[in-house]
Amino acid sequence: MFGLGKKDLTLFLIVAVMALFAPFILNPFPTDSGMAQFNAGYPDLMQRFVIFGILAIGFNILFGLTGYLSFGHAAFLGVGSYAAVWMFKLLSMNVIPAILLSMIVSGLFAVVIGYVSLRRSGIYFSILTLAFAQMSYNLAYSVLTPITNGETGLQITLDDPRILGVSATADGGIPVTNLFGLEMRSFETLNIGPWAFQFSVGYYVAAIIMLISFYVAIRIFRSPFGMMLRAIKSNQNRLYYTGLNARPYTLAAFVISGMYAGLAGGLLACMDPLAGAERMQWTASGEVVLMTILGGAGTLIGPVLGAGFIKYFENIFSKINDQVVHAWVSFLPDGLENFVVAIIHPFVGKGWHLTLGLMFMLIVIFLPGGLVEGGQRISRRLRRKPAEDDAKSASTEPAE
């Protein structure tokens, strides 16, 4: 079905169902319970999960298949965001033209950077992409402020000359991004007992685009083009000897991957019309790399898991403060309570980086194939079946 093999189809359907029911799955705890802190089912974070999922899927097409490690992928994310916000400012608040333009602009950007950077391989390639991205970031923050609005980030204002649409709404507000009238930020809340589930328009738009991107990625992985990219990864020289020029293939992969990043950037701007220069900083590029490796480079689902993992820590753990921890352990006697809080304190709130760093190390030490391998081990344990089934699993080929 859909031209997918059985394994791929199962995977795709699992992802689709999870994406569809994310508002339920991510909100397992009743709203007024102490554990509600760990709920991630609010629109902004769900949107970020799928958008960064798109980014990581795209990155994986380049890194997972060809082995080229781009350390400047955030530049495409940033360029996509700027393009989308400019589209909102100048043309229309509809998200379709914004998304299209962000993909086109980042694609063109990727052609230029890819053409130059792909003349080198290995770490030399990484540093070239890093250099381009850092140049973009530094310039966007300072000299290019007329285009990027520098430090503050490009925002929509009340006096934008919007061709199709109004500069300001009737009551003096800024118009909202929409899909033919369907506002991205609008959402409905479903209350069932103590639970509250939020269904956001923006999230479902982003989720559908993510599913399309995921589907395209599967097709690329399974296509002859994908095979060619794997060949480049395993031995580029041998490919040359057979008379094939690898460059057009790697460039194509690079551009596709850049367009995925641009799409993600455009979507970020659609959900929240702001484009900040920090999106292009090397730390942001590094984050994409980490997401992919953390989840499992070269696997289809791994990067999405990795993206979710990092975004979850960033948005959930950073919000746990001492007050919250005290509330959790308030059942303990006073002295013990303070002791437990003191133990937890360095790892949450302002210490969320520490927890993240520790998780990086633990995962890479104990799960060499990333989160996907963790999932495999669990399912293997549950099924108590020999591993040969998984080793051949089409969807989960560990990184080289």
Binding site: A16, S142, G153, G172, E188, D272, N321, W352
Partner: protein
């Protein structure tokens, strides 16, 4: 085929849930039923404290958070009440806001506009925060202010000094208590002219981003009006850590004053480098060479150590002030945490009180009612003397402090001494001043 079955089941399940949703519309809390975003319905109200907890401003953020916790304690009737006793408005009684207990959530801005918005959004969407406050840089303040405008909640800015926050990027839902670059220039220039003479040649080093530019513009305008000449103004990259190559040419440029339009780590490093080059022991144009840091903070002064001694700058507030409001605040902060508060802590504490007071006076949490209560509001007793929240741009007008790095500090917190309290009249400007032109407040947005 097995996979078809799976699909059909998936589809069926989807249909069932969707059907349940449609069939039982009563279980939806129709969002239109609410008058404004996150209207508090229970016995408590949630405020969102969005401060940098990681990155270079983490210590400043930690101090802001301490102030917020103190403010919440005082609003709920705990502690010694702090500035509630000295505040000119007596609407707040220490029984929460409008009788609702004040609760709070915290988040990490990372000093990135993107992350700050994500954090603020989670507070609004997940935790039901009715007001967002905090931040330690102008980029973040402007970005979060824009978000709060769109979402329909009030934003009470934390530490943000750029003219743009209440200038070209002002928003109807956003309010700033902190002073701005223009006020720094207006307050500092006369003191500089007094101390160093009117015939001076200045060399500016400016952080190459929006805040740096507005400060350079403001200081240049203010000093040039008093007869100073600007020899050169050089932009330095934000990521710069070693400023030697920018400082080395200063002495030979004909300038006799160096103005450092830097903040945070940039300022600590550029000042340290300038002192290393021995600029302060040099003579130029027959005068002693001087360094000026227009925006000071105690935390930065600590980072710069000895180098700060004798250097003039401006701040929004300092704990050594002797008015009743300051004394009450320093006492309760110092008793709770063991050291005096920073200016960032002060502005955050005051902003929280001002918000609570406005709600109390308006009798409603509706952002539009709160904004109306804050606009044109005159108050006193919060450490800065009589203060006005101007209606036209939501900027507070109050006295500005000119300070100098102390020669003989008694502790690691006692680093600045107040040289002059510049009266409010001297730092006021017209709402349509060219440095603040180009934006519009718009109309207040209650959300939903």
């Amino acid at each position: 085929m097995s996979k078809t079955t799976l699909t059909r089941r998936g589809v069926l399940r989807t249909g069932a849930v969707a059907g349940a949703g449609v069939a039982l519309p009563t279980i939806f809390t129709a969002s239109s039923a609410r008058a404004f975003t996150n209207e508090p319905t229970g016995g408590s109200v949630t405020l969102g404290f969005n401060v940098p907890q990681t990155g270079p401003y983490a210590d400043e953020g930690a101090d802001e958070l301490r102030a917020y916790e103190l403010a919440v304690e005082h609003l709920n009737g705990g502690g010694d009440g702090g500035m509630l006793q000295t505040f000119s408005s007596k609407a707040l009684e220490g029984s929460g806001i409008l009788g609702k207990k004040v609760e709070y959530v915290t988040g990490d801005t990372q000093t990135k506009s993107d992350a700050a918005r994500a954090s603020a959004k989670s507070m609004i969407e997940k935790d039901g925060a009715i007001m967002i406050t905090g931040g330690s840089s102008s980029g973040v303040a402007v970005a979060v202010q824009g978000l709060c405008q769109e979402a329909g909640v009030i934003f009470m800015a934390g530490l943000t000094h750029s003219n743009d926050t209440t200038g070209k990027d002002k928003k109807a839902n956003g309010f700033r208590h902190f002073f701005n670059a223009y006020m720094s220039g207006a307050a500092l220039a006369p003191v500089l002219a007094n101390a160093y003479g009117k015939d001076r040649k200045a060399y500016h080093l400016t952080a190459d981003y929006t805040w740096g530019w507005t400060q350079e513009e403001s200081i240049k305008a203010a000093t040039e009006a008093l007869g100073w000449e600007t020899v050169e103004a050089v932009k330095t990259p934000l990521a710069q850590t070693d400023f030697s190559s920018y400082i080395a040419p200063v002495l030979n440029s004909g300038a006799d004053v160096l103005v450092l339009n830097h903040y945070g780590g940039n300022m600590v490093n550029s000042l340290t480098n300038a002192v290393q080059f021995g600029l302060r022991e040099k003579q130029a144009n027959g005068k002693n060479f001087e360094i000026v840091v227009p925006l000071f903070s105690r935390l930065m002064a600590r980072g710069a150590g000895e180098n700060i001694k004798g250097i003039l700058g401006s701040t929004n507030w300092h704990w050594s002030l002797q008015d009743e409001g300051t004394k009450a605040f320093v006492k309760s902060f110092g008793t709770k945490y063991g050291f005096p508060p920073s200016q960032a802590a002060h502005t955050c504490y005051v902003q929280t009180l001002l918000y609570a007071d406005a709600v109390q006076r308006a009798g409603s949490f509706d952002p539009c009612a709160v904004a109306e209560a804050l606009e044109g509001y005159e108050f006193d007793g919060l450490g800065n003397g009589p203060t006005l929240y101007r209606a036209e741009d939501h900027q507070c007008f109050k006295d500005v402090l000119v300070v100098r790095g102390k020669e003989n500090p008694t502790s690691e917190f006692d680093l600045l001494e107040v040289v002059e309290i510049t009266p409010r009249g001297q730092v006021e400007y017209a709402a349509d001043h060219p440095m603040f032109a180009g934006g519009a407040l718009g109309s207040c947005n209650p959300g939903v």
